[in-house]
Structure formats: C-alpha cells, structure tokens
Symmetry: C2
Subunit: 412 residues, 2 copies
C-alpha cells in the first residue's frame, strides 16, 4: 500500500523541482491553475516586448526593409531549427509554415508521390479528426484509398500496398502514445513511409525523429511550444528525402529563387521547398521568442517532471476520487502516455465548467472526457493536488449541477 499523499508532500516535490525556475518565464494569471497548455500554451513573459519591437520598430519604422534588415526572411528556417532541437531533428530539417492541417496535406501528397504503385494511406480511427479529414482529401486527390483502423490494428494493417502510415504520436483525447521507433521500423520493413503528427509531443517530451528514422512529421506551435493562439505550425522532412519531395502547395516562397519571378516552378533545395506563401511574421516572431522558454532545459528533465505530474494526478485520483463516478481514460503506465491525463465522467462537461469557475482550467472533449495537460515548464505539483481537491469538492457538494455549468457553450 502507498502512503496517503498530502499537499505538503506536493509542496516538497515543488521545492525539489529542477525546473521550478522556469515558471517565472511565463506570465500566468494570479490564483489560476492552468492545465490546458496542451490546447493553448501559457504566454512566455518575454513575448510582448519582442512583439512590440517587431511592430513599433521593424514594421512601423523599418517597413519593407525589415525583410532583410530585421531578418524576417529567414525566420521560418531559424525558428524551424530551434524546434528541430526539441524533436530530435537535424538543422535544416524543420521549417515553420502554415497550419498543421495544411502542412499535413503537403507531406501526405508528397509522400504518396514517392510511393507510386501503392494505393493506401493508412490512418487511425481515433486520431484527431483534422488528420483523418486531410488524409481523406489527399487520398482522393492522389487516387489512393484512405484506410482507417483501430489503434491496436495499426501494425498488422501495414502491408505491401500501404504507401504512407499517418499517425499522431500522442492521442488528443486519451494521451495514449505510440512507439515511434517500432511503428516506423514496421512501416519501413513493408516499404511504406511514415508521417508523425507531433501536436501533443513537441515541447512536452523528447522525441528522436532521426534516431527513429522518421520520414516526415508535422506539429503545431500553440500547444506545448507556447507560440500563441493559432501560432504557425512546423514540418519536418528527413534530409535524405528532401531533394525528392514534390509537395502540392507550390507557392513562391518554396521556389528556388522566389525573387527571380520566373514563370516555371522550380522547388528550392532542401527544406525550404515546404514553404508556400509569405511567412506570417507576427505569429512567427511570437513563436520564436516563446521558444526561449526552453533555453537551458534538458528535455529528459522535462519528461521526468511531466511523468511525475501525471503519475501524481493518477495516484491522487485513486486516493481522493474513488466512488465519485470518475474513471481513468489514459494509460496508467507513463511509458504509454504523453503529457496529459484524461478522466471520464458522465457529467464531465458540467464538472469542467465548475472547475473553470474555480479558476482551474482543463478542457472537455465530447462526450465525457475531462482532459488535463501538464506543461512541465510552469505546472507545479501543488497544482495537481489543488485540482484533485476541487474535483472532489465539486462532485461531493453537487456544485456542478446548475444550469450555468450544464449549458453548453458554442465552442468548448
């Protein structure tokens, strides 16, 4: 039997936390516990000053000259190189552009073109819907079949007709994660290419794209990378594939010589060919400066703390919430989990609203998932204690059971 965990135990863990100093890098609201950094990361405190310089100096004063003089032009490459360090990629293998969905379309079509004669894009039923929608459109436009299988059927479904295996590393609802290395190896044995969506991974834990010989990856900038609402996304193409890649969104910034204004499209060498239109500078600058929150952070420490927070959440759920209608929707084993823990509860929506009303912010995913993300740079162990205590109070007191909390908002 474990000993009962107290709030003091949690405070002691915070006092010993190697990453505790990172919390001061964020501008967090007072008296608020934020467990939704997996949906929108908190704001790094340095971002507004950098953005003000971008607006008042670079845009207003520098005007068009800032594309050269303020180094706007290489920002997608520069920011991509910074993200590369967080996902086990090399320099010039990651670039920042567009949204995750748009980048996924680019790599799925490009990868399909690298496997002519194969007719299947393999996806997974429980993946985040946009990935499946985009894969469906890419399949339709390339004459492939989109084959969707259950998570535990993925490995067996990889056969000689599969061109691409397209998966998300960490599931958005349950936090269940794949073994990137094992799936990639199996795909390669069958002659297929892999595309990994790292939306719930990048900035949350280390991954090793090159060590695992991953072909393509995409991910967003606004979750654990803290780049701000709708931050631009990133795309990884292994260097060995870059000269072969023909992506379909052939905009001028992916051209070999964008400012030569030639009539024929000729893709840029290397990762730059993944660009399409003019880079969204304001969003890029926010994202680039936000990434400074990772300065000096060892990703193994980050992962250790994330696991600690998740395990603590589960143990406290067991200790405090038993008999209150909650069940664990995430793997108990941290090896199977990303940086979130989800609970199921039949009244999950109203309970989450009541929790948010108490300034503890997680989020709800239909039909019954309460989702809690642990951004290890700024979440404390006492935050986990306080969250579990509030969940207990809300259910025991019946505080969730009011119209104010039960009425669905248009967007959740």
């Amino acid at each position: 039997m474990h000993q009962m965990i107290t709030r003091e135990d949690c405070a002691a863990l915070d006092a010993a936390d190697k990453l505790a100093h990172c919390r001061a890098r964020f501008n967090l609201p007072a008296e608020t516990i934020y467990l939704d950094g997996n949906s929108l990361g908190a704001m790094p405190a340095n971002v507004p000053a950098r953005m003000n310089r971008a607006m008042e100096q670079e845009w207003a004063q520098g005007l068009i000259r800032s594309w050269n003089d303020a180094d706007w032009y290489p920002a997608p490459q520069r920011t991509g190189n910074r993200i590369a360090q967080l996902v086990g990629a090399g320099q010039d293998e990651v670039i920042v552009a567009d949204s995750t969905s748009v980048n996924l379309f680019k790599v799925l079509v490009a990868a399909t073109r690298m496997r002519p004669g194969r007719g299947v894009i393999l996806a997974e039923r429980t993946n985040f819907p946009t990935d499946v929608y985009i894969a469906g459109s890419a399949a339709e436009m390339t004459g492939c079949e989109l084959r969707c299988v259950d998570p535990d059927a993925v490995l067996d479904a990889i056969d000689d007709n599969v061109a691409i295996v397209s998966l998300t590393h960490v599931n958005y609802k349950t936090g269940q994660r794949y073994d990137i290395e094992a799936v990639t190896r199996r795909a390669h044995e069958a002659g297929a290419l892999v595309v990994w969506d790292l939306c719930h991974t990048a900035g949350a834990m280390p991954v090793h794209l090159n060590r695992c010989e991953v072909d393509f990856a995409v991910g967003c900038g606004y979750k654990y990378l803290n780049g701000g609402p709708g931050a631009p996304a990133f795309v990884f193409v292994a260097s060995r594939h870059q000269d072969e890649v023909r992506q379909p969104l052939t905009g001028w910034h992916g051209h070999a010589r964008p400012f030569a204004f030639t009539h024929e499209y000729e893709p840029h060498a290397g990762i730059d060919r993944m660009l399409t239109g003019t880079a969204p500078q304001l969003g890029l600058i926010a994202l680039e400066s936000a990434l400074e929150a990772f300065d000096g952070v060892d990703l193994e420490d980050l992962r250790d703390k994330s696991v600690e927070l998740g395990d603590l959440f589960i143990r406290l759920s067991d200790q405090e919430l038993s008999g209150l209608g909650f069940s664990l929707a995430s793997p108990r084993d941290a090896e199977q989990r990303g940086s979130q823990v989800s609970l199921r509860h039949a009244e999950g929506y109203a309970i989450m609203q009541a929790l948010i009303d108490r300034n503890i912010i997680g989020d709800f995913r239909a039909p019954d998932i309460l989702r809690f993300g642990f951004a290890a740079l700024y979440v404390r162990h006492v935050d986990i204690w306080d969250t579990i205590a509030a969940l207990k109070e809300i259910v025991v007191s019946g505080a969730w059971n009011t119209d104010a909390f039960r009425t669905r908002k248009s967007v959740t």
Copy 2:
C-alpha cells in the same frame, strides 16, 4: 501644353485632400516617403495597443477561455465581413484564412470540381508567379491542363474547354488592370468560372465582386489592407456557389461541427467551409484592427486620390525625368491602371537602392522595374514631387553608380 507643376502645386493639392486626415491613422517613420504600401502596408497606429491587449489580457490572462470570451473564434468571419465591404461582396461571402497561395489552391480545385468534363485552367503569363505555380499544381492534381497566354490573348482563349479563368486584377509589375466585369462576362458566356486575385486591389480601390457576378476571389492582408508582415489572406466565394464548393484542404475548422470531433468530414454551411486549421489569431487581430484605418473612408474618394497621385507621378516623370533613361512601364490611362506606377530603367536596381538610401522607399522588380505604390490613406502629393526630384538628382549626379548601391542583396 501643360503648365509646369511645382512643389507648391503639390502642397496645395494636399491642403485640399479629403483624405489628408487619414495619414494620422498611421505610425510612419519621420523623414521617410513610403511608396511600397503595395508590398507591405504601413502600420496603423492603433495596432500595437490592440495587440498588447490580445497578448497581455486575452492570451496571458484569458488563456484558452479567450476563444469564447474574447471572440477569437469568429474572428475569421468578422474580419472577412469587414473586407467584404472593401471589395463589393456581401456579408458571409468573405473569410480570412491562410495565405493567398493556399487560398488560391482551395478555390482552383473547388472550381475545377464544379466544371467536370472541362479540362483547362486558363492563366496568364505575366501574372504573379505564385498564382501560376499554384494553378500548375491544381491542374496536375485535378487532371487539367494549365494554359498560359499573353495578357491580350485572354479573352480569345476562353473556349468551351476552359473550366476556370484565373487572373490577377492588377499586375504586380506594371499596375495594368483587367476589366473584371468584361472578363467575367466572357468567361460565363463560355460556361467557365472566374477566380480573381485581388492582392493589389483590396484597400487600394473599389471593386464590385457581386455586381460583376464574380465566382471566386482571393487576396492578401499585408499590402493595401495594412495588416502587417505576412498577415493572413482572404477568400471570397459567391453565396450562390457556397453550398456546392468542395475545397481540398479539409481541416477541422471547415467542418460543420468542429468540436463534435466526428470521424467523417462534413463541410460547414456557407463560407466557413473555406477554413482549414486553427486561425492565426495574432495576425488576425493585427489585420482586424488595421482595417479601422478605412473607417468612414469613401472608396470612391480613395480611388480618386490614388488616380491623382498616379497621374501626378506620370506627369512629373514627363516633366523632370525626360532624357534620363526612364520609361513608363504602366498604362498612362488611369482607367487601365491599379494604384501603382512603374518605371523602367536599365540601372533600376542601383537607382532604387540610392533612393531608399535617401529614405524614399519604393521597390525593384527584376530585371528593370522601379515600382511605386500609392496608398492613398497616407501618401501625399508632395511625396510624389520629392520622389521624382530625388530620382532626377540620383541620375543626374550619378549617385546611383557606387558599389554600395549596385551590389544585390539576397532579397529585394
């Protein structure tokens, strides 16, 4: 014979300018003349305060709640409706998303699907290259042929096999513009659909998409709309087509119920189906607040002033620059022109660098074009005088002929 125009004449025109008060809506650098608002618009002075609120309050304090509480979620529609008023579209016919190139891909593929059995996308050789590159990719993916013709051959090239006529209203190099109404009518008579790129139009002069029965349009947010570097773009779909449109970038924000997380893609009713990924909020907020610079501005007044500035530029070129190697690259007739005037000169690159060195900013387009854009909200008549005087001085003195000005920068 015209009388000689003096700088005093220009100052008198400024004193009588109905839009003179709009200049104070912008934060412009001192002692600088900015004639490149057709490439990156100047910064409206209200933008930084709005952006600071978005960062410090909505992002940092509101966090994920701001998608509802700060009305982030409907920002693409709201900002689109504002742009609709500048391009003669109705409410719910314009939405802000992605880049111009990405939006062009969406509408080209969607339009091709509406004309099955027709095999040609008709484009134009002198169009901005990204439009041609994207049309080439859309054609390849839909089994069409991309047919590129010279500008004066467009009308005759519209035959029964053309699915789409894809043109830019105002040419990026010469400022030459098409008659939207005449080309659209001819396309419709032949059973084709039209896609207009309004990058050099929106915010520069009125257009009447609905009066001209235009089918689709796209445009960028960072030129005459002053939305900031890499601002998100917009897309117009005539309401009569909206329920038929199937665009290929089927991301979750274009879904009928994005937060139901259903497995099957079902397009949203109306213009929302043109969305793909999560909206780039920071860029959107900059663009939305920037559009307030148009508050109370009559677009006919805007056009009148733009024509005045362009005509003045041409007359002063005739008066001051004859015999100095310049020639007019833009139509002399304002009815054929957008809001820019371009000059050709064999030493155009170095002359433009020398001009920029004197804090007069236009831009250069290879091989020999000096391009001057007239954003009527903030450009003055005396700016035109001073620009022509500086061009004269630079060429007469030979000041352009130094290594500093002749050496090409990586991006121009």
